[in-house]
């Protein structure tokens, strides 16, 4: 009985995960030991994992009032709020633009190339420009999170509109449906999976961008604390706690979008696959 259970365990994908995690921990620990041997600062820049975990529960003050984890969590809230507002604004703008591009092909031809250009500008290059325009670091953080969200949402939603099968459009046409009804009853519901693909890509990006822009100027936020910690103005454990926390937040933000998708599309909830639509070309 026990042997069978072990066999199952080794055959399962869980086993692969366990090997990966153990391997990563091993590499980390070797790295930490090597770096500790050559350190020139009082603290090890690459601490051992147990030290990082220990620092989370440590009651030692990292600045005058707060412990490391208190600093991290309070700043995480600031960053999350900015990323969240930016994400929501960007997602709405992206969806509206996809609608416009789908309604008027002229808009698509005019705007689409510039969308790609905006996407290609590095965040760190864009940040000072946005800051110069908004004259407010808080606003510019939100704007940049919005810009990064905007592109994947707009392009994915647009391809969702375009992916609707010809026969489904023809059914609406044969029922003399108005343009408004075609969008409300057909195009928008059927593009939802695409919209959520865009949101799932954008959510972790908005958070990463928000953290990156934090590093440019003071005013709180995870990125701000990260750079202070790296410059030894604060214990190095703040940096490492933020690294792990932002990874967790990124994954959670993705999961939140996946959960929202399930919530609004009950037809997928039962887990059944979509029936493969007939690939047969109708005879002319």
């Amino acid at each position: 009985m026990n042997a069978i259970r072990w066999k199952k365990f080794f055959a399962s994908p869980k086993w692969v995960t366990v090997v990966w995690v153990l391997g990563l921990i091993l590499v980390w620990e070797i790295g930490a030991t090597v770096v500790a041997g050559v350190k020139r600062t009082p603290e090890n820049v690459l601490p051992h994992l147990y030290q990082i975990i220990g620092s989370v529960f440590s009651s030692q003050k990292a600045n005058s009032t707060q412990t490391a984890i208190q600093i991290v969590l309070s700043n995480a809230w600031i960053t999350l709020m900015r990323a969240g507002i930016g994400f929501a604004l960007g997602a709405m703008a992206g969806f509206m633009l996809a609608l416009l591009m789908s309604l008027f092909s002229a808009v698509e031809k005019m705007i689409f190339p510039y969308l790609m250009m905006i996407q290609m500008i590095p965040i760190l290059g864009m940040a000072p420009i946005v800051l110069a325009i908004t004259r407010d670091i808080d606003k510019s953080r939100i704007v940049i999170a919005a810009i990064l969200t905007f592109y994947p949402v707009a392009t994915n939603t647009l391809s969702g509109f375009k992916a609707v099968e010809r026969e489904k459009r023809e059914l609406m046409f044969s029922l003399a449906a108005s343009r408004y009804d075609v969008y409300r009853k057909l195009l928008i519901p059927s593009s939802l999976p695409y919209l959520f693909t865009g949101l799932k890509i954008a959510a972790p990006m908005a958070i990463t961008a928000s953290i990156l822009v934090d590093t440019l100027q003071g005013g709180g936020g995870l990125g701000c604390m990260m750079s202070q910690s790296l410059k030894h103005a604060m214990t190095i454990y703040v940096f490492w706690q933020i690294v792990f926390l932002s990874a967790i937040i990124g994954i959670l933000s993705y999961q939140l979008m996946a959960w929202l998708e399930k919530l609004v599309s009950p037809y997928r909830r039962s887990g059944g696959d979509f029936p493969a639509t007939d690939a047969k070309e109708p005879t002319p």
Partner: protein, 271 residues
Amino acid sequence: MQFARKLPKTDTGVDDGIEIRIENLSVRFPDKNSRATVDALTGINLDIRRGEFISLVGPSGCGKTTLLRTIADLQAPSEGTVTVRGRTPREMRLQKKFGIVFQSPVLYDWRTARRNVCMPMELMGLPRKQRTRTVSEMLDLVNLLGSGHKYPHQMSGGMQQRVGIARALATQPEILLMDEPFSALDEFTKEKLNEELLSIWSIAKKTVVFVTHNIAESVFLSDRVVVLSPHPGRVSAVVEIDLPRPRHLAVRDTPAFGALVSRVRNSFEGV
């Protein structure tokens, strides 16, 4: 017509019992590989009577689907005219007089069977009470009353196609246009749905234009079978099917049925 069906007839000739009149219809498509055009249909003349079950049968490329699409205003004629009750197909479409069943069920994945059937009536702005009642009637007609809560992916191909038929009938259309609706189904399901379709037709009393490449299916269902031949698409024969109604699957084993199938098969030209 061999079966008993009272057609309204007047002496004025305004209503001559003709539902769809196709006169000298040609449809040309631009060729993908050259500047020339391809004749999908040439010189089609056909009158379809009111309440008639007519099949368009032929091999791939004979233009049977194009002919159906032209009637449905999904395809514009290059020459000639199609008139439906004296009106253009466009006028009829705008009045929602066509019920269309496609080759694939074309159901909306995010709607249950009930809500799929309901969708055309939502477009028409019918009151909720009437919609609910009609949905139940239509689902009952296709024997799916107990499956109204199911999503398309929870239903078999045959069930999905039946929902498609119920949806097409929900708007109370004058004409039911069916484009190879059962061609993706297995033989057993197809035969069952053939028989079901005939009983629906005898209740709903619609004119049905049914496209298929299955000769036996067309003979079993139809009052008349229109045989189309390809290159260029043209009518090569119209075969009257005088088998008695109501028909059941057993009719397929009779010599008369076999003879009609042979007649249709021998009517193809240049295949």
